[in-house]
Symmetry: C2
């Protein structure tokens, strides 16, 4: 069988594993009685099982496996990261933010459950992310403290939320390449990076390995954003918030290749045998959608 | 000097200590550069230093001191609880929730910073609550895991957010005394309880002491809600969401005395020398505003 096809099949098995874990966790949460709380759970599940790519949690699983750990060990943390990603999408879609009616071909959370429950579902998912970590990693005091610190730094004002603030206030202003890179590193990069870094911590990686993987995660996240801009070129070439709009298509492609190469270099500092993760990087450069 | 006056002065010193700690923490956070992130910090500070009673963090300090620990040790956790309380008020005030323009005599967060930044400030405060815990209690692996677990349970769908969901969906429906009690125990009781319970964990209290203090905190939180209803009697006697509206003034007073007595009993299981906390309970029964 062709290697690319084999890797793709493996990848889709990982996505299934993540899907099952996330759905089971949210369905099995022991909650206080009552119709309102049952409805709030439904709202959380609606967005958390909405057919996403599961890019972050799959990344956690791949990193853990590369380091000799297992999907089982890393799945609670991977689910925490995915819950934070999901909450950010719910809040982003609200009328006071992007005001989106549809996401992945389905009505957005607030269109189905109302703005009030969408707000609460986001708040609850963010909070639950820390609970799943405390419940699953408290046997090792170093690990639990480290995971909570890394995730809260990546998700809050120092990371994702900070990036959203920058994005909102940038408005229609022309950004420089450096400013746009900074925006992406915070808004989406931090959470992708922490999916990698947290998995490395759980797997017991050494400090220099964690450092390299952190750079790998950050680079991979940025590469995805840059590749998106290349793909959307034509739609976005006038867009002040896209690399193609700022530096043009050819320079953006060069930038993407450079980031991807650096990313691969960081990965190889840790392992020579990282087929699945290499596949992710090279797939990204050549993807068509 | 009169004992009540002395206790009141001591209480106001605790409030000052908390105020200084909260303001310093949020002012000193090391954040990425940029005007948007500076503005988001300002929005967080605006609501977190808005002249609140600091009931929850002061409670943490009093419990820690009663158990022979110190304000210093418990203040980071107390601040985490207060940040969660603050975030819940910001989100509650949003147009899609209670749509309030004023809080404590000042414009609400979204009236000053816009709905988008109010939403993000709430998200950032909730996330920061877990960061301050990870940064300050990770030396003791048991403590950090326990605090994150207790706080996320109290703040999320199992606690405060769950209570908000019940409150929203109850609408104008007549609740029973038991249903209203359940609502308060989740919506406000859980966070007050965890302010006490977390402080006990930090102070190294024994399991049976933590258990008694947990009931004390839960009872105290409920007693405050019931006392509010007694105070607002007249305005609220037709209110389907108040104890006086459901069971009448006299039965509500009896209920308040009963909860307060049980609360005091739990406190005395742990310490015979708890003047400040006793003062809180008895002050509540007789307060005039």
């Amino acid at each position: 069988m062709d290697l690319a096809i084999q890797l793709e099949q493996e990848m889709s098995l990982k996505v299934q594993t993540v899907n099952q874990f996330v759905e089971k966790y949210l369905s099995d949460m022991e909650l206080p009685q009552g119709a309102a709380i049952a409805e709030l759970r439904k709202s959380m599940l609606y967005s958390a099982t909405n057919g996403g790519k599961r890019f972050r949690p799959v990344l956690s699983v791949l990193v853990a496996e590369m380091l000799g750990s297992s999907a089982e060990k890393v799945l609670p943390f991977a689910t925490a990261v995915e819950m934070i990603h999901t909450y950010s999408l719910i809040h982003d879609d609200l009328p006071c933010m992007d005001n989106d009616d549809m996401r992945r071909g389905k009505p957005t959370n607030h269109k189905v459950f109302g703005e009030d429950f969408a707000l609460l579902a986001g708040d609850a998912l963010l909070t639950e992310a820390f609970l799943i970590i405390a419940k699953n990693y408290s046997e090792n005091g170093f690990v639990v403290g480290r995971l909570v610190q890394l995730l809260s730094e990546a998700a809050g004002i120092r990371g994702m939320v900070g990036g959203q603030a920058i994005d909102l206030r940038a408005g229609e202003k022309q950004l420089s390449q450096a400013e746009l890179t900074h925006l992406h590193l915070l808004k989406t990069g931090a959470l992708i990076r922490v999916a990698v870094e947290g998995a490395a911590v759980i797997a017991g990686a050494k400090v220099h390995e964690i450092e390299a993987l952190k750079k790998f995660g950050e680079g991979l996240g940025l590469a995805f954003q840059v590749a998106d801009d290349v793909l959307d070129h034509g739609e976005k070439d006038q867009d002040v918030r896209s690399f193609t709009g700022i530096i043009g298509l050819e320079a953006t492609k060069t930038y993407l290749n450079q980031i991807s190469k650096n990313t691969m270099d960081e990965l190889h500092k840790v392992s020579a045998d990282a087929a699945m993760l290499e596949y992710l990087v090279s797939f990204n450069i050549s993807r068509k959608h």
